[in-house]
């Protein structure tokens, strides 16, 4: 054991000798009633509810990713692509027998 460890162990051993907390450990008056009333207004968390909650979060993340993808590629989606076809349609020119 290092010198520090032995000092630390000495300190916590001394701390453990302190008298127990003298404060009352019974529930304050009305505490249980208040907690039960609040708990009654809350829905219970089941495995399916947790799964549903995670699914909703997943859906929101997917939607955000979709919107970001559209926003980033907006210029490509709205550009006039017929011009590009006209420029690169060399095969069409070759086969044009008119």
């Amino acid at each position: 054991m290092s010198p520090f460890d032995s000092r630390w162990q000495k300190l916590v051993a001394l701390a453990r000798q302190a008298p127990a907390d003298p404060r009352d450990e019974t529930a304050p008056l009305g505490f249980a009633t208040r907690v039960v009333a609040r708990a009654a207004g809350r829905p219970a968390t089941t495995g399916w509810a947790l799964l549903g909650h995670l699914a909703v979060r997943g859906l929101l993340v997917a939607a955000a990713c979709g919107i970001a993808a559209v926003a980033l590629n907006y210029s490509v989606l709205t550009s006039d692509q017929s011009v590009d076809y006209a420029v690169v349609d060399s095969v069409g020119d070759l086969l044009d027998f008119s």
Partner: protein, 197 residues
Amino acid sequence: MDPAEAAFDVAACLERVRQRDQTAARQLVEHLYPLVIRIVRSHLPRRVSEEDLAQDIFLKMFTRLEQYQGNVPFAHWVSRIAVTTCIDQLRAQKRRPEFRWADLSETEAEVLDHVLADDREATPGDALAARELVHKLLGQLKPDDRMVLQLLDLEQKSIAEISALTGWNQTLVKVRAFRARRKLQKLFQDLQSKEKS
């Protein structure tokens, strides 16, 4: 099984609570309050009311009641909720106040001085000051580090018990305890160097 738990008949009470019996729910809270408040008082974060924290723990207990399978005693299951809720509250504290020698009471400084110098056996009267001092020192650590040292060194729980209470595996508990002690050592060294300067 815990004698108090056996005398109370937790299983029958839980069955009634599941059938929405509010009297049984109140009895359950009153029965578990001493256990919960002891955990809360040992790990209470700054500026948080112990009653508010105890209420949060009981509300979590009721909302998760359907998940309790009966594999462990109910008191252990509730203890785990209490410990993890305390860790969450400690994590929510943004910043720990800087620890200075001047913040210590005269007795705390004396106890620390003697422990660091290793020059005499402490007297029993130093015990309260030592407990306060240990809490102040642990308060400087990150919540997980603080929790592991408090459970291991102060409350003398085994690695397996800490693992069950926190949900961390046993290797993680050992690694956290080792790292936390190294951080504490650094804190001791800083205190010593500041005191000398």
